[in-house]
């Protein structure tokens, strides 16, 4: 198989008596599919919980140290300045170098040890590299002129680089590398998200209950007036949810400053987050915590496709084995018809997924996924 370009993550999660994701009426989000109404958790809700998670051992914020120990402080040197060597006189490049480092990393940035850890992605590198070439050309071979133009430039883009530092500093920079950044109207400065997340939905028809509840005053004593307690209703739902995520590996690697090892760690953490982090609301009253009953990971270079079609005909209930069997049938049909040859592994709390490759623990399938990322970019991993 050629180098994988995509990691696809399929999951089945069971939740009981919860309200994971509401619309503006306060009711659970829904999806009509195959003629049957399902309960739904939106893509943006799932992504937000994976992004802001802090307590899970595999939270993205916990990759800080890993990033720090890697190549991020050398990115400007390697990707912006070294490409000037040979194209322009060495003295000109030297005159530009210290000033550009200081402009990007701050006043003490000329020294590698004092540089802040910034995760510069392709938009940042492309812009800085183009600016460096423009400045080197403006110097017309004269080191003194180079010094003058770069100082003038640093002054003019000071505010811009301050914001660039805020945006690329960790851990926000790492979250942006995975979840994207669309703040400005400048398409060349925005960061596209390499992660695509489908809305999760129940593999069976909605199972919903209007939960009537009252809140009463436990400290009431005879003789007091009865006061006004509260009577309310909320919706609670139960279900087995199918979730689907695709990661665009070349883009993730680019957003990680061409660091395939870092991108591999991000994917490894993401697999853990998908399996373990609840998209839940009403934490105190419904304890919406649960781990995936099934995780299927695929690595390949053919067009990614979800296996949602396995559940277009709604299952009769939330039985995990029945859902795994339906998923297996769909995967088998896809393989027979299209022979797309993805490499796979999976985790199952129920029956094994025959078409799903080797079975493993969450740790082993997550690390397998991370290793596929390094396969995706052998030249960048070196």
């Amino acid at each position: 198989m050629s180098a994988p370009r995509f990691i696809q993550i399929h999951s089945l999660h069971a939740y009981t008596a919860v309200l994971l994701n509401r619309d503006d009426s306060g009711l659970a989000k829904r999806l009509p599919y195959g003629g049957v109404m399902r309960t739904r958790v939106s893509s943006q809700c799932l992504k937000r919980h994976w992004r802001i998670e802090e307590s899970d051992p595999h939270a993205l914020a916990k990759l800080d140290g890993f990033v720090d120990s890697f190549r991020s402080r050398e990115l400007v040197t390697k990707k912006v300045l070294r490409p000037l060597d040979g194209r322009f006189p060495a003295e000109v490049v030297k005159a530009l170098e210290a000033e550009i480092q200081k402009a990007v990393y701050g006043d003490k940035g000329a020294d590698r040890k004092n540089r802040q850890t910034l995760l510069l992605g392709a938009p940042e590198i492309d812009w800085l590299a183009a600016e460096a070439v423009r400045l080197a050309e403006a110097a017309a071979g004269d080191p003194a002129e180079a010094k003058a133009v770069v100082t003038e430039w640093a002054k003019s883009v000071k505010d811009n680089l301050k914001v660039l530092r805020e945006q690329t500093a960790l851990p926000g920079g790492l979250a942006a590398a995975l979840f994207g950044r669309m703040v400005t109207s400048d398409p060349a400065a925005n960061l596209d998200a390499p992660i695509h997340v489908a809305h999760a939905f129940t593999v069976h028809g909605e199972e919903t209950e209007s939960d009537y509840f009252t809140a009463v005053d436990d400290l009431w004593e005879p003789g007091q007036d009865h006061g006004a307690d509260t009577i309310q209703e909320t919706e609670l739902t139960s279900g087995l949810f199918y979730g689907y995520v695709v990661v665009d590996l070349p883009l993730l690697i680019k957003n990680c400053g061409d660091d395939a090892a870092l991108a591999g760690r991000v994917v490894e953490h993401l697999v853990h987050l998908v399996a373990e982090v609840s998209p839940g609301a009403k934490l105190g009253s419904t304890a919406p915590y649960g781990r995936a009953g099934l995780m299927l990971i695929e690595a390949g270079d053919r067009q990614p496709r979800s296996l949602a079609g396995a559940f277009r005909t709604a299952l009769s209930g939330s039985d995990l084995d029945q859902a795994i069997t339906a998923l297996d049938d769909e995967l088998g049909r896809m393989d027979r018809a299209y022979e797309t040859g993805e490499a796979r592994c999976h985790l199952s709390l129920g029956v094994a997924l025959a078409a799903g490759g080797e079975q493993g623990s969450l740790r082993t399938i997550a690390s397998w996924a991370g290793e596929r990322v390094v396969d995706a970019a052998p030249e960048a991993a070196a």
């Binding site: 599919y33 505010d159 398409p187 489908a198 067009q303 990614p304 496709r305 299209y338």
Partner: protein
């Protein structure tokens, strides 16, 4: 090529949730019943690995694109409104390639920004498309994009493909082989339908199929073109909304006959 035998690439756009963005004027992201020319241009560009900044290539592709679309299912309810809350801040800023950071205008950031996005639920739409063969696209240095390259890109796309919005991920391969037909309308009739047979609602360019009853219902000026240089939508083209008769696919084709 003679008009009797254009080669049409067949696409199947199928997913639990799909969005065919229409003209949006406020916080409500509407969806139309059929894909826009600009959306298909973006979808193809995405498969080919183009960037948002490759404006000339996108424009040229949109200018050459000839397509028709057919709804292979009419689920009820047809639309789904998703409510999103986004926390925006007055102080949100981003760096730009023009050297100055860009912030947000306006004042009302006390509450989350609330927006609605409409989706088509449980949708399956068949598209047939080809590229106009224009004299200016021939010769050295000209845009030489062919339908074969587009088909190959759909099989091994540069990026994950989505149908209208990023969470709208397809349930199967989008490229479904090719058919030969004189017009876009005739090409649609050659593609078996997965979920239905008989009359399906369809849309095709004026002149690329019938413009009169019984097949045509109405002719409209459709605003589905993007000016890729400015990033804004503008202009209209004449299309026919009507119906096309489709045969039900045999079981083998339903499971995806094309490689």
């Amino acid at each position: 090529m003679t008009p009797a035998g254009h080669d049409w690439l067949v696409l199947r756009l199928e997913a639990p949730m799909v969005a065919f963005g229409g003209v949006a004027i406020d916080q409500v992201g509407v969806t139309r019943d059929f894909p826009a020319a600009s959306m298909l241009t973006g979808l193809i560009g995405n498969a080919l690995g183009w960037h948002r900044t490759d404006t000339a290539r996108h424009q040229n592709l949109q200018d050459r694109l000839i397509f028709a679309a057919r709804r292979d299912a009419e689920p009820v309810p047809a639309r789904l409104t998703d409510m999103q809350n986004a926390q925006l801040g007055k102080t949100d800023r981003g760096w730009t390639t023009w050297g100055q950071p860009e912030g947000r205008d306006g004042a009302s950031y006390a509450a989350p920004h609330r927006r609605q996005r409409d989706y088509l639920a449980d949708l399956c739409v068949t598209v047939v498309l080809r590229l106009a063969d224009r004299p200016e696209d021939r010769g050295p240095g000209a845009d030489s994009l062919h339908i074969e390259e587009i088909e190959a890109a759909f099989h091994r796309p540069a990026r994950p493909l989505f149908i209208g919005r990023k969470p709208c991920l397809p349930v199967g391969p989008i490229a479904q082989g090719r058919v030969k037909a004189a017009t876009a309308h005739a090409a649609l009739g050659c593609v078996p339908a997965v979920y239905t047979s008989g009359d399906c609602r369809a849309l095709w360019p004026v002149g690329d199929g019938p413009s009169d009853r019984p097949d045509a219902d109405r002719v409209v000026a459709l605003a589905d073109l993007r000016n890729w240089l400015t990033g804004l939508h503008g202009g209209t083209r004449m299309v026919v909304e009507g119906r096309v008769t489709a045969q039900m696919a045999p079981a083998a084709v339903q499971q995806g006959g094309a490689p």
